[in-house]
Amino acid sequence: MPNTSNPASTRESGKAGPITAVGFAVLLAATALAALIGRADPVAGPRVHVVVIENMRYSPSILDVPLGDRVVFKNHDLVPHTATSKGAEPFDSGPLLSGQEWGFTPARPGTLRYNCSFHPTMEGSLVVGEPHKLAAP
């Protein structure tokens, strides 16, 4: 009976200490790396901007988009919507059912006005401006 295995006491043995320490070190390193990547990301590369479609509105209705960034429309309403522009740089999500999303990357600077082809009172604008500046070396 005294030799009956007891997993709880095994996990509490001294041998578990170094393994836990290594794991902790790996976790710290991974966290530091993630922090570095996260810090560099806003200035180093394209980003994704989300326009939520909810309550029969685009939110935000006016969005500044640096050239090169991607815009994603997410439909949170119960009914289908589109994001459709017939301007200088036409784009069209096509029907987005509830829960669906669609994205694109504007190709040139300017203001892109769009609306929902099903619900013409819904309107929004993308103001496409200067691209992000790369981080200084």
Binding site: R57, L78, V79, P80, H119
Partner: protein
């Protein structure tokens, strides 16, 4: 009496049943929601096939699509909540009103059809929004049912504004 009366008056239905003396239950609200959507689906289906006006056709298609989606959400929710929609005087009156509207639309064509449909859509959406605000949302007991009613309200508001825009072409 007051609450049921206001639903009926809001929906343009003058006859108030003598027994309508209590607030609608969730099961009754569910039936009202389903019928209210269905009558607009039926009208939209008829006009989408019969109208020659592209803008009216497009609006009618949108009404069919949107009210079908709302009804699907309502059906999914009552199924989940194990609530059986309970027909009541208001839902029956709504159905009768929808049938009469269909009968009228079937006799019309051309601009007369388009105008009658759009006029009815303006009145219908105004009345449903009022019913949502005054009766259905305040009396919904289940939080998810109430949330659904709140979520569909902006849909009716957009439809109303769209219908008013179309209506301005005929007046």
């Amino acid at each position: 009496m007051k609450i049921q009366t206001s639903i009926l008056l809001a929906l343009g239905l003058a006859a108030v049943p003598a027994y309508a003396q209590k607030q609608p239950t969730d099961a009754q609200i569910a039936a009202i929601v389903v019928v209210a959507n269905q009558v607009d689906i039926d009208a939209g289906t008829l006009v989408a096939a019969k109208s020659a006006d592209p803008e009216v056709q497009k609006f009618a298609h949108t009404m069919v699509t949107d009210h079908t989606a709302v009804n699907q959400s309502a059906t999914d929710l009552v199924t989940k909540l194990q609530v059986t929609p309970e027909a009541n005087e208001t839902s029956r009156a709504l159905k009768d009103g929808g049938d009469k509207n269909l009968e009228n639309l079937r006799t019309l064509s051309g601009t007369a059809l388009d105008k009658a449909y759009v006029d009815h859509e303006v009145a219908y959406h105004e009345q449903v929004i009022q019913a949502l605000d005054d009766v259905l949302i305040p009396n919904a007991q289940n939080a998810e049912l109430k949330a659904l009613l709140v979520k569909v309200r902006p849909i009716f508001v957009e439809h109303l504004n769209h219908a008013k825009h179309l209506q301005s072409r005929f007046n």
